[in-house]
């Protein structure tokens, strides 16, 4: 037999305890066996170790070796700038490591938020005395004393109960206080449903009780949530995987080229030192040092844009995951709907239908009758009076107190200015889940009257009369009952919550006079249809998860235009095996009704096993495991601290529309990163080609390593960032989600970056270099120039060739598919600023001596700069033509 079904003496026998509690010695023994009643955050990371790890991965080691080689080269070839190169590379390693660490290891405070729910001290019986003990010292068999305001430290079965109400929202999300009993229903099978139990992590709202502890620490229901919350570890996000992949690809390319040219160098007439420095230069030229910080900064900027659209991103790596989302599992209440119960329709027992206008709980609104006579208004007022008198909710100065359904009735009655002042409340028979109704007894001028409201079928059964359309009392016979049942059913089919209201002058709940029905609804949010339509075109499935019944779920889905293939209730989900659920979720859009928050985890896991990228909303403590499991956990701004800590994103306005906006930004980020990766790759070619040409042909060195770094870590950074902040392209929500197999660094990026734009830039750089030398008297075959100024000037031309092309490249790269004109020249302020700064940088390279000294540049006569002019124009026109061809091929024109 389950423990919570045992009676008091059986419990005492099983746990070898008594009303006097345990002895100190026994409690110590049990503490040794069962351990401390604590849940510890044992998954805490050693941040120093994690940070140091950033310096020992493949990419970092590659750069560190390069820096060391540069130091060695500096010993043999001083004043060649190799020391500056070494420092610059170390700086790049440091920046990359710090950014990567900041990204990956932000403190996970979910467990801290969870543990705040546990008390520090508790009252327990020990050695027949009441003692205040450390909550950690509780053991199974302890007798605990519960009083109003106490937090409960362990799962326990009540042995004394004085109208105890507890707040169980941490465990089941239920915000209403839960009344406790001394007995539990015989059909209860789960400890969490036993009404004679109290649970760790919950708190006493009112009343008092005494209970025997049956489970502590991880064995409690709260411990189970903590276990799930803490131990679910996410797999890598698409962004993390892509960064690893990009790093691997560049490392392999850089190393391969370095090694190949080092070997070639050994067989050439170059010295070993020159060959080694050459190979090192090639490695440096191939490594896009600024790429990782640019990605992080770009994600950070996207996060800021999302925050402006009410989606606060906590985990930057998740930004791009949003672009891949294929399924959004969303709560209904507050996300799809306004979380504001509003009385919209009334059906008087006399048959009139009344529609109520006005927003929410506002006292402004009209009542539109479908038909009326002299008595209609007074009958409506009587029904609203009965409703408002029989409610505990109040609205004072726009502040709401009480149950949302009752608030709807109070709100509607305020629109009619119903006067309740003459009525004095005498008694109340409270609502219970079993009775499904509540009654209040009032007195007015010495006359007593009972008002009742509750589930329609319950009030119908208790009604013997009703008030007809002329205001006369008629027997509530079968025909009248059938008629009212039909009205109630019609309301329910429209997703209304229906209550019947009656009265009785005999102060009894039986023999009521039925006044009518009120239809209450949590209305869908205004912009919801448009957001759902956007998801449809964006090939994103929306699965609504609600605690409401199937009928309400279907009616709401219909109202908001949400298509679905089937409905599953919580009970059905429970009965399905993991495999069966996966099969259902593979292709179908399911509405989930009558769901408990704890079942969300099963849905998220099943969807992920079907290969879906899942966004899941939630707000309660018990939502935390599912939020952590989902690829994108979305907590409501009004949710619990635990949900917010565990989520990847917080919805500041709880609005579904904001999720769709975030998805749009996520997709934009994917393409923006693609754009700036292509942009950054393009400049690698004019960095590599000069070295290769210098190696094979008898020409002076066209570009120094420090100049390469000035591009990678200097002039490319800001325009790259600006590309990362481009607004979403116009077709972004008309394409399917970014697939898990769609890589940022794909063939197209290489084709455009390396083999199209890159080659144009390399040509520009080399033509500028050779032309300048030829104009100034250089002859082919002269490798060592006698005039160092001329060499510096020629190298400056190479650098300017690459940088000027990159400036134009940034502008044509703003759209991956559409023309540069279509995105508007002024729409990216950051790029305008970046271009201005780049111009300034060029001027510094051309005219400011300290900068020239560091970067080996020199003044260039204005008459020679014309050589640079054609290439940016060719690049711009070429890439625009390339994109036009792509659009033609895709039928986009």
């Amino acid at each position: 037999m389950q423990t919570f079904k045992l009676n008091k003496s059986q419990l005492f026998e099983k746990f070898r305890t008594s009303e006097d509690g345990l002895s100190t010695k026994e409690s110590h023994n049990r503490l040794a066996n069962f351990g401390l009643n604590e849940i510890r955050d044992t998954n805490k990371k050693n941040y120093i170790k994690e940070y140091l790890k950033q310096y020992i991965h493949f990419f970092a080691i590659l750069l560190e070796v390069a820096a060391m080689l540069a130091f060695i080269a500096n010993v043999y070839m001083p004043n060649a700038g190799n020391d500056i190169l070494a420092y610059a590379i170390f700086a790049a390693v440091f920046i990359n490591a710090t950014f990567a660490f900041w990204q990956e290891y932000k403190a996970d405070k979910a467990m801290e938020a969870l543990l705040r729910l546990m008390p520090i001290m508790v009252k327990a019986m020990r050695n027949a005395n009441v003692e205040i003990i450390d909550a950690k010292d509780l053991v199974p068999g302890d007798i605990i004393i519960l009083e109003e305001g106490d937090r409960i430290a362990a799962d326990a079965v009540l042995i004394q109960n004085n109208t105890l109400y507890i707040d169980m929202s941490t465990l089941n999300g239920e915000s209403k206080p839960s009344k406790r009993e001394l007995e539990c229903d015989s059909n209860v099978s789960r400890a969490l449903d036993a009404r004679n139990m109290v649970y760790a992590g919950t708190s006493v709202i009112s009343g008092s009780g005494v209970a025997i502890v049956i489970a502590t620490a991880y064995a409690t229901e709260f411990g189970k949530i903590a276990t799930l919350t803490r131990n679910i570890e996410k797999t890598l996000t698409p962004m993390q995987k892509e960064v690893i992949r990009i790093v691997h690809i560049f490392t392999v390319i850089a190393l391969a080229m370095g090694v190949i040219f080092f070997i070639l160098g050994i067989f050439s007439d170059q010295t070993l030192l020159v060959t080694a420095i050459f190979a090192l230069s090639l490695i440096v030229a191939n490594v896009p040092e600024g790429l990782l910080p640019t990605i992080t900064l770009s994600l950070s900027l996207a996060g800021q844009r999302m925050a402006q659209r009410n989606a606060l991103i906590k985990n930057l790596n998740s930004v791009q995951t949003l672009g891949s989302v294929t399924v959004i599992c969303t709560d209904k209440t507050g996300t799809l709907t306004r979380n504001e119960m509003v009385l919209k329709e009334i059906k008087l027992a006399g048959g009139e239908n009344i529609i109520i206008s006005g927003e929410g709980y506002s006292s402004e609104g009209e009542f539109y009758f479908d038909k009326n006579n002299d008595t209609s208004d007074s009958r409506l007022d009587e029904l609203l009076l009965a409703g408002v008198l029989n409610s505990r909710a109040t609205i004072e100065d726009k502040k709401l107190f009480g149950d949302s359904t009752e608030l709807a009735i109070v709100g509607a009655s305020s629109k009619r200015r119903i006067n309740t002042a003459p009525y004095i409340r005498i008694d109340e028979i409270p609502f219970t889940g079993d009775r499904k109704m509540m009654s209040s007894i009032y007195e007015k001028s010495g006359e007593k009257i009972l008002y009742a409201k509750g589930a329609a079928e319950v009030i119908f059964d208790k009604s013997s009369t009703y008030i007809d359309s002329m205001g006369n009392i008629q027997p509530f016979d079968e025909e009248a009952k059938r008629r009212m049942q039909a009205y109630a059913e019609a309301f329910e089919n429209e997703a209304y919550r229906v209550l019947a209201i009656g009265k009785n002058l005999d102060i009894k709940e039986d023999g009521l006079t039925l006044l009518g029905l009120v239809a209450i609804m949590d209305l869908p949010r205004g912009e919801i249809k448009e957001a759902i339509e956007q998801c449809k075109t964006a090939c994103i499935r929306i699965m609504m998860i609600t605690g409401d019944n199937q009928k309400t779920a279907q009616a709401i889905a219909k109202k908001i235009g949400l298509n679905y293939d089937g409905v599953l209730t919580g009970e059905e989900v429970e009965l399905l095996s993991d495999e069966e659920l996966e099969n259902r979720l593979k292709d179908e859009t399911i509405l989930f009704a009558r769901m408990a928050s704890s079942q969300k985890l099963k849905i998220a896991t099943a969807l992920q096993k079907c290969g879906e990228i899942v966004a899941m909303t939630g707000d309660g403590v018990n939502d935390a495991p599912a939020l952590k499991r989902a690829d994108i956990g979305i907590a409501m701004g009004t949710g619990t601290d635990v949900a917010k800590e565990v989520a990847d994103m917080i919805l500041l306005d709880d609005n579904f529309k904001s999720i769709v906006s975030a998805v749009e930004e996520g997709r934009a980020v994917y393409f923006n990163i693609k754009k700036f990766v292509t942009y950054i790759l393009s400049s690698n070619v004019p960095e590599i080609v000069p070295y290769i040409l210098q190696f094979f042909f008898k020409i002076p060195l066209p570009l120094s390593v420090i100049q390469i770094l000035s591009i990678d870590l200097g002039s490319d950074m800001l325009p790259g960032l600006a590309l990362g902040s481009e607004k979403p392209e116009k077709n972004i929500m008309k394409r399917p989600p970014v697939g898990v197999n769609e890589k940022i660094l794909d063939r197209e990026v290489f084709r455009r970056g390396y083999f199209f734009i890159g080659l144009i830039e390399a040509t520009a750089a080399m033509v500028a270099f050779i032309s300048f030398l030829l104009v100034h008297g250089w002859e082919y075959g002269t490798v060592d120039l006698k005039d160092p100024i001329l060499h510096s000037q020629a190298m400056t031309m190479t650098l300017l060739g690459a940088v000027s092309c990159q400036m134009v490249n940034a502008w044509t790269m703003r759209s991956w598919e559409f023309s540069a004109w279509s995105v508007g020249w002024k729409s990216n302020k950051l790029l305008l600023g970046a271009t201005a700064l780049e111009f300034f940088w060029i001027l510094m390279l051309l005219g400011y001596e300290p900068v020239q000294k560091i970067f080996h540049t020199a003044d260039i006569p204005l008459s020679d700069l014309w050589i640079l002019l054609p290439f940016p124009i060719i690049l711009f026109a070429g890439h625009e033509f390339y994109k036009w061809r792509k659009r033609v091929a895709k039928g986009m024109l």
């Binding site: 389950q2 040794a32 069962f34 351990g35 068999g141 489970a215 131990n231 679910i232 797999t235 995987k241």
Partner: protein, 272 residues
Amino acid sequence: MKVIAAINGSIAAESMVFYALKYAQVQNLTLVLLHIENKKDNLDDVEASIKRITTLAYSQDIKIESVFLHGLPKQAIKKFLSSVHVDTIFCSTRRNKKFTTDSFSELLIKINLNVDIAVVHIVNINNIMDLSNITLSIKEDKLSVKKFTFFATLASAYKADGEIYSLSSISRQKLSIVDMHEARERLSTINYNLKHFMKLANLMSFNIHIKHDFTYNEANSILMHIVKSNTNLVIVGAKRLSGTLFFKKEMPIEKLMREASINIIAFYTNED
């Protein structure tokens, strides 16, 4: 052959004996309640415990005897074991940082005994008498006959459903790019290799199924599985989880024992 249950009068040890009782019942072996006298344990508690267990054993027609040993535990247990044929020793353990520290189980698994040892960690005394689901956690298809027999015996004794929870190790990075087709093939191979155990279970008429998981952290996966499934008892091959891992401060089994929400049996076969 006899089954030994080491007791010390504590509620945890007495709870552990229920598993030994059930095991002895199905295997038709005599259960020996063993206590080695020491200063820590209260003899009255031990005798009261023996009395309660003996009453229960008689009510279920289980042969039972009790033995009190004296002297140094190591010598006493070795001497005793040399005089009787023992199938399995059951002992409970404490919830210390290392689960065997300061308990009789530590001694048992350190001295080289030619018997199987079941170290039972009692976390929850609520469902010791009624178990509906028992899980045996294994690595891929690595399941010995002894381990399966132990698991099957307990499942049969409680008429519980059995579950083999097969964990396949994979790195975190690979877990996020797991090829579903490749994974299914790997799992079907595991299923094939475990087929004869499934047949055996059918012969023994108890329901059994295999549940697979890919993981880069075995202890975490088992802990999660315990919470998500409705299993009441987990049996793990203790040696397997006792290996140290790079960058890990503790052995997976320690974490499992410390943080599980249900009772766990760490099973050491004498073949290990």
